[in-house]
């Protein structure tokens, strides 16, 4: 018994010793997460790529190899192109609004004022609320008959001017009061963009605040001495210093908006007449509702290379901006 224990001891000690080495310990600690991700993300991802090259239908998940047919078919469909265009519009337009809003709001939220706690609570609400449920709130706000937005605009006598403005900007040429926010193609695009901007803004504000917090106090003092104040200071001092972190906020915003399914699905289901489809909802319509799994997978895949390029470029610039 004792002899056995003595024989077992040295290897065990060596084992423990190995755990002290970074070369061994690091991979051992990382391995469970990597293996899990490989199984739950890696395998399905590769499988989905394979599917996009087959004619798989329904629940079969295998099919005949058809090369790039699915991609060519998808590309040839007007609805697909509209979905791609909409995805780009929603992503870029909502992020433009978010960046401006977050830059302004974060500049004031870092100040000390009474009631800051409640203001911050109200500002983060859209981010904290489950997106499906808050989108249902918007569905109610923009309802075709009971819209409180229209009711309020009418009471403020702003509805006719808004209709005129929409016509003047050629967003909706023959819009009428009450506005059908989700019932007319271009107006629905505007509404969805605004809902995306609304839901991403709090997150961006939080990241921008983090960016401000990372600016050393010396910079603040130096700019005071040099007489940089107000807009001038914002443009020449605050914004360049915040750029790396602002880029991260925008990057997350782009990803959150581009791959989002829930907002469009809840608000319009891609309608009216597929005019507000985005790539995720169009992929769902083709892959699940119509059962063309292969083409659905191909549609979902279109965005991926684009997102990878955007991400790598932004992380690269963010790091460079920070180093300099």
């Amino acid at each position: 018994m004792e002899a056995q224990a003595a024989r077992l001891k040295p290897p065990r000690r060596r084992w423990r010793h190995a755990f002290e080495s970074r070369r061994v310990l690091a991979p051992v600690l990382i391995a469970p997460a990597v293996i899990f991700m490989a199984l739950v993300v890696g395998v399905p991802f590769v499988w989905a790529i394979y599917l996009s090259f087959t004619d798989a239908v329904g629940g079969s998940l295998t099919g005949h190899w058809v090369g790039f047919d699915n991609f060519v078919n998808a590309w040839g469909d007007d609805n697909f192109r509209r979905a791609l265009r909409n995805t780009l519009i929603f992503t870029l337009a909502s992020q433009a609004l978010v960046v401006v809003g977050a830059a302004v709001l974060s500049a004031f939220l870092v100040r000390d004022f009474r009631g800051k706690w409640i203001i911050r609570f109200l500002v983060v609400l859209p981010w904290a609320a489950p997106v499906v449920l808050s989108t249902i709130n918007w569905l109610w706000l923009l309802d075709s008959l009971y819209s409180v937005v229209n009711w309020t605009l009418a009471r403020l006598h702003l509805d006719e001017s808004l209709v005129w403005l929409l016509g003047a900007l050629h967003i909706e040429d023959d819009a009428q009061v009450p506005l059908q926010w989700l019932g007319r193609p271009n107006l629905a695009l505007v509404a969805i963009t605004l809902v995306h901007a609304w839901r991403i803004l709090p997150f961006a504000v939080v990241i921008f605040i983090a960016g401000r917090a990372s600016i050393p106090n010396e910079v603040e003092d130096a700019s005071k001495i040099d007489g940089a104040t107000g807009v001038k200071k914002l443009w020449y001092v605050d914004l360049p210093l915040q750029l790396p972190i602002a880029l991260v906020a925008v990057l997350f915003g782009i990803v959150f908006t581009a791959v989002d399914f829930a907002v469009v699905y809840i608000l319009t289901r891609g309608g009216p007449f597929n005019s507000t489809q985005v790539l995720p909802t169009w992929a769902y319509a083709i892959g699940i509702d119509s059962g063309s799994l292969g083409e659905g997978a191909a549609i979902s895949l279109f965005l991926f290379p684009l997102l990878v390029v955007v991400t790598v470029a932004m992380l690269f610039f963010a790091r460079r901006a920070q180093v300099s």
Partner: protein, 287 residues
């Protein structure tokens, strides 16, 4: 701040707060409206009115709790809340088991390639769930988990683990290395130093990860929507749009109440942990 600066601050932050919170504020009003009051377009949507559409100062007599009661007694909403809690809690545990060691190793032990791995983790986020759920739903069927909360418990860590690893990596980097080195000098093993020194110090960071991972689970829609088809097994995010919107019939008051109930505690938790979240988030990206 000067008086003028204070006034300008309020002039900016208050309108922003009103716009951002408006859907919830208006949802709160709607939740207690009677059907007749809600259904009449002549009535003010901001107040509770009598049958003629007039407002009275004892407005609570013209409001109703009926739709909140309906939500809790005649729908599966309480079950969905419990299901959401179960899934969230199980996923958080799995996430921590996988992400704590990984985040620590990437922050402390990995050296140069830790940063590269950090970017790699980010890329996992770019794979749209609409792409993954086709093969995943097959996997779920094969494992006989369809229509079971286990399917969500299995799949949700696919997006919480990268997120949590990223955040934890940031937190661990903010902890001074000297703390651990002192423990190592005193003869503790690395794992012991991790358990006894690093983890207790990073508890606030870990709690932050718990809260944000949990809320990611509450937010998830497409897997919950496609993997589960019986009402009793749904979570809030999939149960509410499925059961409270029936064709063209919307249970507006109940819908508004159902959205507010999870949002308020989550927003309070977010607020409490926001500063730590900021620290971990930006720390993970750069440093």
């Amino acid at each position: 701040m000067t008086r003028r600066q204070t006034i300008v601050t309020y002039l900016v932050v208050v309108p922003f707060a009103i716009v951002l919170a408006f859907p919830f504020f208006f949802g709160l009003i709607t939740a207690f409206k009677t059907n007749l009051d809600l259904g009449n377009v002549e009535h003010s949507p901001y107040t509770y009115n009598d049958l003629q559409g007039h407002f009275h100062w004892d407005f609570w007599n013209y409001a109703t709790l009926e739709h909140v009661r309906f939500l809790f007694e005649d729908t599966n909403y309480p079950t969905w809340l419990v299901n959401t809690l179960i899934v969230g809690a199980a996923v958080v545990v799995i996430t921590l088991v996988l992400a704590l060691p990984a985040g620590y190793a990437l922050a402390r032990l990995a050296g140069g390639w830790g940063q590269t791995a950090g970017v790699g983790i980010f890329l996992v986020y770019l794979i749209p769930p609409t792409l993954l759920f086709l093969p995943l739903s097959r996997l779920v069927t094969q494992l006989d988990l369809k229509d079971s909360l286990w399917s969500l418990i299995l799949v949700y860590p696919s997006f919480t683990v990268p997120f949590a690893t990223w955040l934890l990596m940031g937190f661990f980097k903010t902890i001074p290395q000297e703390l651990e080195e002192a423990a190592l000098m005193d003869g503790a093993s690395r794992l012991k130093a991790l358990a006894l020194i690093v983890l207790p110090v990073s508890l606030p960071g870990i709690l932050t990860v718990v809260i944000f991972a949990f809320s990611l689970c509450v937010n998830e829609f497409i897997y919950a929507f496609t993997f589960i088809s019986s009402s009793e097994q749904r979570t809030v995010s999939s149960g509410i749009p499925n059961d409270l919107i029936r064709g063209d019939v919307f249970f507006w008051q109940s819908l508004m109440a159902s959205a507010l109930i999870p949002a308020i505690p989550l927003a309070l938790l977010y607020n409490a942990f926001l500063d730590r979240f900021i620290k971990g988030f930006t720390g993970g990206a750069f440093r």
